[in-house]
């Protein structure tokens, strides 16, 4: 679905590259979490998938990114945006309208759908994100969690096959964060490929199928979520904190308690502890 091959990018005027020789294959239907310290290149990597890099940001770009066999360097942003939907880190910067309904209509009208199709997609998007009651609300009056769902609805109304999200839970409480990830899991089950940058590695541990770990513009680890989380030393050395249950299961493993299972959720850790005390 997405083939990133030897990609590098240096922002105009910057003395060092934001991305260096990054290669990553993201299969159709994957749920990929991208983690890493600040300024490690996560957002730039996301921007190469939706074409913002190199189309909208000046800099030195090399390598290739193919989405659905489209080379993002060769095709325009409009073509890419028919496949890739993006939810930015700063939701307020993404909003172009003042009313929820208008926000969702903006993309649909710009894509030139018929009035019937627009109405159908608007209703579907509102229902999917459980925000039908917010349809005529002023966006400025919404909570962070509500705005997040409006931004997702506006993107999902365009029915992208790839959804890229940059720290979607930054302003949300733990329950709202989990609800956003529940929605992403549902979308993923429907076949949408999810690429999500997230600081809360506990959420990624519970939801992502694969992880890609960035540091200083390079991809330093990639693999299944469990395999990547086993590299505690590497993750700690670059400043990525592990979920406490992962720490616990690694401590139990080194102390010889229980099986060698790596627990990525409290449910799994509970089962492991029950084994030990049985």
């Amino acid at each position: 679905m997405i083939a990133i091959d030897e990609v590098g990018f240096t922002y105009a005027g910057s003395p060092r590259p934001a991305l260096s020789k990054v290669s990553l294959d993201i299969p159709t239907g994957d749920f990929l979490g991208v983690v890493g310290p600040s300024e490690s290149g996560k957002t730039t990597l996301a921007c190469t998938i939706d074409g913002v890099v190199p189309h909208c940001i000046d800099g030195d770009f090399y390598g290739s990114v193919k989405v659905d066999d489209m080379d993002t360097f060769e095709v325009g942003l409009t073509d890419i945006s028919r496949v890739v939907g993006t939810v930015f880190q700063d939701i307020d910067a993404q909003m172009v309208s003042t009313v929820v309904e208008d926000e969702i209509l903006f993309g649909l009208e710009n894509f030139g759908f018929s009035p019937d199709e627009i109405e159908r997609r608007l209703d579907d998007a509102l229902a999917m994100l459980h925000i039908a009651d917010l349809r005529m609300r002023d966006i400025a009056s919404l909570s962070g969690g509500q705005k997040q769902r409006v931004a997702l609805a506006a993107v999902l109304a365009l029915r992208p096959r790839v959804l890229v999200l940059d720290e979607p839970t930054g302003a949300l409480d733990p329950s709202a964060s989990r609800r956003v990830f529940d929605i992403l899991r549902d979308l993923n089950k429907q076949g949408i490929t999810i690429v999500v940058i997230e600081q809360d590695i506990g959420l990624l541990a519970a939801f992502a199928r694969h992880l890609a770990v960035m540091n200083e513009g390079r991809l330093v680890l990639q693999g299944t979520t469990r395999d990547v989380l086993c590299n505690a030393d590497v993750l700690e050395s670059i400043g990525v904190s592990l979920p406490r249950v992962v720490d616990l299961s690694l401590a139990m493993r080194s102390g010889g308690f229980g099986s060698n299972q790596l627990c990525v959720s409290v449910d799994e850790a509970e089962e492991l502890l029950k084994e030990v005390i049985a």
């Binding site: 310290p37 490690s40 400043g239 990525v240 904190s241 139990m252 102390g255 010889g256 308690f257």
Partner: protein, 288 residues
């Protein structure tokens, strides 16, 4: 208000203009003692940020009162309050207003009334204490450094009470640890700290006391152990317990040997409890 109390809410309520009767904070009462480290937790829209604005006098209660020291914030000037209550906003970009790191810190020092001849030198000293390049343009710095700058310039005012609205939001693990080290050092030096946070691990690991908000009301006020081990409070305030606390509660509920892990609140506690309980490890069992 006791002598040791530095802040007190007395049945304080506030509704935003245009939303009469819909209280963002409703009849909230508590007091904070000098030198306490308090975490305010609750879901989005629970009233946490409104509470923080009432604390530093950005807004005044519609009814009830908020006291800082023994003075009612309703009668205090913004500058008088700002000298005593420092506020770190959730988004540093809404706080930083100068074109250089040193200028940002100097701005606070000048408001505090430092002598003009000492300001530049002191501002540079503070910048270096916070590992910041004094001459850098704040708006070109990474988020973690902008957050440190916002904290440095807030602390430069030497407030006796520090309000932190999501101090680690958007920061990676290492940056979180660095900023929390700074905050713990300030607390150890006597600053009263009130941290508003969605990060339950941060609240549990650092705070001496938790205020849990829900729908504008204070639904719990107690130690981290008492709040995060109270299922009814967690449910009412839509909170999740820190992972190890959650796990130890689940193990306690299984009874039997599981109760040996009932009080563990860290990975080290868990491991210690397993060793102390003489739980044989799998390797030994296999060997037998």
């Amino acid at each position: 208000m006791s002598d040791a109390s530095v802040m007190e809410f007395r049945q304080a309520s506030y509704a935003y203009p245009g939303m009469p009767g819909t209280y963002a904070v409703h009849e909230v009462s508590f007091s904070i003692a000098r030198g306490e480290f308090v975490a305010v937790v609750g879901s989005n829209g629970a009233g946490k940020t409104t509470l923080s604005k009432l604390m530093n006098g950005l807004i005044k209660p519609d009814s009830g009162a908020v006291l800082v020291g023994s003075e009612d914030t309703a009668t205090m000037s913004a500058s008088s309050l700002a000298r005593r209550v420092g506020m770190l906003f959730q988004n540093p970009d809404r706080q930083i207003c100068q074109q250089s790191v040193v200028g940002e810190i100097a701005f606070t020092l000048s408001i505090r009334g430092d002598s003009p001849s000492s300001i530049d030198g002191r501002a540079r000293e503070i910048a270096r204490e916070y590992d910041l390049d004094p001459d850098a343009d704040p708006f070109t710095l990474p988020r973690s450094q902008r957050q440190r700058l916002a904290l440095a310039s807030t602390v430069a005012g030497n407030p006796s009470i520090l309000i932190l609205d999501e101090p680690t939001n958007g920061l990676d693990g290492r940056s979180c640890r660095r900023i929390m080290e700074r905050i713990r050092a300030l607390h150890a030096a006597g600053t009263t700290v009130v941290a508003i946070t969605h990060d339950m691990e941060l609240a549990f690991d650092n705070a001496q006391r938790i205020l849990a908000m829900s729908a504008g009301s204070l639904v719990a006020d107690g130690s981290p152990e008492s709040v995060f081990r109270n299922a009814a409070v967690l449910d009412e305030a839509s909170l999740h317990a820190p992972q190890i606390v959650d796990l130890s509660e689940r193990m306690a509920a299984t009874g039997g040997a599981g109760s040996l892990l009932a009080h563990a609140s860290s990975v080290a506690d868990m491991m210690e409890a397993m060793r102390m309980a003489g739980l044989s490890n799998q390797g030994e069992r296999n060997a037998r």
